[in-house]
Amino acid sequence: MDQLLYISMTGAKQNMHSLAVRGNNLANANTTGFKADLENARSMQAFGPGMPSRVFAMTERPTQNFTDGLLKTTGRDLDVAIKGEGWISVQDKDGNEALSRNGNFTISAAGVLQTMQGQAVLGNQDAPIIIPLPVEKLEINEDGTIEIRPEGAPADALEEVNRIKLSKPFAGELTKGDDGLFRATNGQPFQPDATVELVKGALEGSNVNPVQEMTHMISMQRQFEMQIKMMKAAEENEKATNSLLRLS
């Protein structure tokens, strides 16, 4: 059979994968702290005997777009966003450290400061932050320190209880896991960084650029159509060959 048919087929199939990546970005256009996935295609050679013509396409998700999402002010005490670069350390479901940009926190009935997804936020010594209940007022300061006013205490009796672990690893060292959290590619622990600043009472929106995603989607669609056209051409060539060989 003609290799052209198979080469075009991988092209079309990989375009479909790219489209799924773009579709996921658009589905998360409203998800707090979401970082858009990037997608690119790579050539995969499958040379054999004969002419080296078979180069397949392969779609990859090399990294994420790490630009900041737009800040939305919410005014809620337990909402924080990161100003510029930086990450919040949380505990994933296996108990390991992972990074998130989602600063939409709650306090569980046991006093654990956690994200809305239920992951505990890490503080000093990489331990989950426990808020001594009951508290009347909780302030998360711009440097990540948490100050509380115990119930019944006078207005100026703020006491520092912990500090959210904030780090600033190089974006190239991070990989997004299948739960949407980021981890170090080399498995090294993250170092706290005192220069990371928080914005109180705000959340970081998704950094998905809808227009860009739609444009990519259209270009994927056209590429896909071209691959189909190639398959059609392969079919027509085949037909022509058959009719040439037919005995009249």
């Binding site: 079309a12 479909m16 994968h17 489209l19 799924a20 990546v21 773009r22 579709g23 996921n24 658009l26 589905a27 998360n28 256009a29 409203n30 998800t31 707090t32 979401f34 996935d37 997608e39 995969m44 779609t59 990859e60 998700r61 090399p62 990294t63 919410t74 005014g75 809620r76 939409n104 709650t106 306090i107 569980s108 009935a109 809305m116 997804q117 209940l133 009951p134 508290v135 009347e136 006013r149 119930e151 019944g152 205490a153 990989t175 997004k176 896991g177 299948d178 739960d179 949407g180 809808p210 739609m214 989607m217 259209i218 669609q221 896909f224 159509e225 189909i228 398959m231 059609k232 079919e235």
Partner: protein
């Protein structure tokens, strides 16, 4: 079938829920004591198609793989318990909690519910009850039939002046209940909330003491819904919905093209 169809479907679903939450907020924009909700989104699991670090040949590894996310979903609706605006009504039975805390209400089935809506009234027996359903306020307070005036102090002390007397007489005490995590309360309609495992246990106390809010007579707490904010959220939700439906129609066109051409 094509994964992008299902991915965009999750996006449509999530935005539809978001619109429902926003419209419920707008519908309650003038409900006394109503606390606005917001939808919390999360990205779904990622499906690994090519594992990063997988072998591309005997001696080489692929630098990056392909993981496709499965879309988005609304994981929670979060109540924002910020204080609403103050509306002065000068009605003696209109009470509001200025600060933290809830009024305690006895439900017909014997359980306790909590509310921020202080539009109270009296039933035929002179008991202070909620305006709609007539559930009694706890601790129960009986106002004498011939009371000339009705006063509630900032600390919740209820006093009345009876005919022929110069001094007011204390007839009861309204207490305030607070929760560690009010966002964890379960809203059950009629402006009432129920205790859950996430809210923590109710802590009953005297108003304006130990960090509890003060009781203000003759005022009501309006809904804390900001109409402009909700309208902006609505526009955003609508556009994200439209873009997700665009993905579905694009995939559909691609599949149509493939089936017709081949």
């Amino acid at each position: 079938m094509h994964p992008a169809l299902w991915i965009s479907k999750t996006g449509l679903d999530a935005q539809q829920t978001n619109v429902s939450v926003i419209s419920n907020n707008l519908a309650n924009a003038s409900t006394v004591g109503y606390k606005k909700s917001r939808a919390v989104f999360e990205d779904l699991l990622y499906q690994t198609i090519n594992q990063p670090g997988g072998r591309s040949s005997q001696n080489t590894k692929m630098p990056s793989g392909l993981m496709i996310g499965a879309g988005a979903k609304v994981i929670a609706t979060q109540k924002n318990h910020d204080q609403g605006n103050v509306q002065t009504t000068d009605n003696a039975f209109d009470l509001m909690v200025d600060g933290r805390g809830f009024f305690e209400i006895l439900m017909p089935d014997g359980t306790t519910a909590y509310t921020r809506n202080g539009q109270f009234g009296l039933n035929d027996e002179g008991t202070i009850v909620t305006p709609g359903a007539g559930y009694p306020l706890q601790p129960e307070i009986q106002v004498p039939e011939d009371a000339q005036s009705f006063t509630v102090g900032e600390d919740g002390e209820v006093s009345v002046r009876l005919p022929g007397q110069t001094d007011s007489q204390v007839i009861g005490q309204i207490t305030i209940t607070d929760f560690v995590n009010p966002s964890g309360l379960e809203p059950r309609g009629q402006n009432l909330y129920l205790e859950t495992g996430a809210s923590g246990a109710p802590q009953n106390g005297i108003a304006s003491e130990n960090g509890l809010g003060a009781i203000r007579q003759g005022s009501l707490e309006t809904s804390n819904v900001n109409v402009t904010e909700e309208l902006v959220n609505l526009i955003e939700a609508q556009r994200v919905y439209e873009m997700n439906s665009k993905v579905i129609s694009t995939v559909d066109q691609m599949l149509t093209f493939a089936t017709q051409q081949l």
